[in-house]
Symmetry: C2
Subunit: 136 residues, 2 copies
DNA sequence: TTGGATGCAAACATTTTGCATTAGC
DNA sequence: GCTAATGCAAAATGTTTGCATCCAA
């Protein structure tokens, strides 16, 4: 399923072989690669692709709202192509595996105006921590 | 203030001038410094303190459970001395300011067993995004 | 006294930048 | 052809490591 590529083409995104490969690597569910992992996978199909291009492309996809950045461990940022459907993350403290989850309720509603310090709150990220079946 | 220093002494933590200064820098509310900010502030009182010592000390404080790491922007990790009272974070997308907040409800209860992929869930981090009064 | 803590410098990992070349539209 | 995208290499940023020295208990 190449929803991502199709959406990008419709939006008039200038298509190059590098950008196509990056978009293909990011296509799928529960995908949360680091920039370096994206580069490695892209290089399997397009050996000459450079890291700078991967970083540029990921940055653009984030700016376009087609991919979101997630920061689960203070190390490398990860890129999540599941940007159209709101969801949260479940991270294994053992092996680092990340799964998309859909909790009930609305975390935004849980933060009363009185506790917002005058901020205009626009979004919320939730990261659940635990151990996956294999690590438990 | 200085609950932190006192707790550390009680726990038999070997005290040095460097560790004391780091603990003093971290003492307070809504404190979320990067390792480098801790180093800069510590160096005002103890110019010869090294970055390595600051990193070592922060790592130990985290291991002791007296400080928690927060990762709000994919760049440097930040260190939060408010580890005894559970709370979440409100981050300004403009200037990066971070405030501790205390939402209602329990996010853990919002993730039904059926959506946990067999994980043993032990904790949750919530980051609210918005604009502070000055940036709005 | 002695094991653990420190400082230094170098290595390492991740991300950004400048600029000449290339290629999509 | 014009403009934007690419590749390369260097730099910027953040963190870890090895090892000789120093110091709190």
């Amino acid at each position: 399923m190449s929803d991502l590529l199709e959406r990008l083409r419709e939006r008039g995104w200038r298509m190059t072989s590098q950008r196509r490969v990056v978009a293909e690597v990011l296509d799928g569910d529960h995908v949360h690669y680091t920039a370096d992992e994206v580069h490695a996978r892209a290089a399997l199909r397009l050996p000459e692709i450079s890291r700078a291009t991967v970083y540029n492309t990921l940055g653009e996809l984030v700016a376009l709202g087609e991919v979101t950045e997630v920061c689960t461990d203070g190390r490398a940022r990860r890129y999540d192509p599941n940007a159209h459907r709101p969801h949260q993350h479940l991270v294994c403290s053992g092996c680092g595996t990340i799964r998309d989850v859909h909790p009930l309720g609305d975390p935004l509603a849980d933060l009363p105006a009185a506790g917002r310090f005058g901020f205009t709150v626009s979004g919320v990220e939730v990261t659940y921590r635990g151990l996956c079946p294999a690590c438990a």
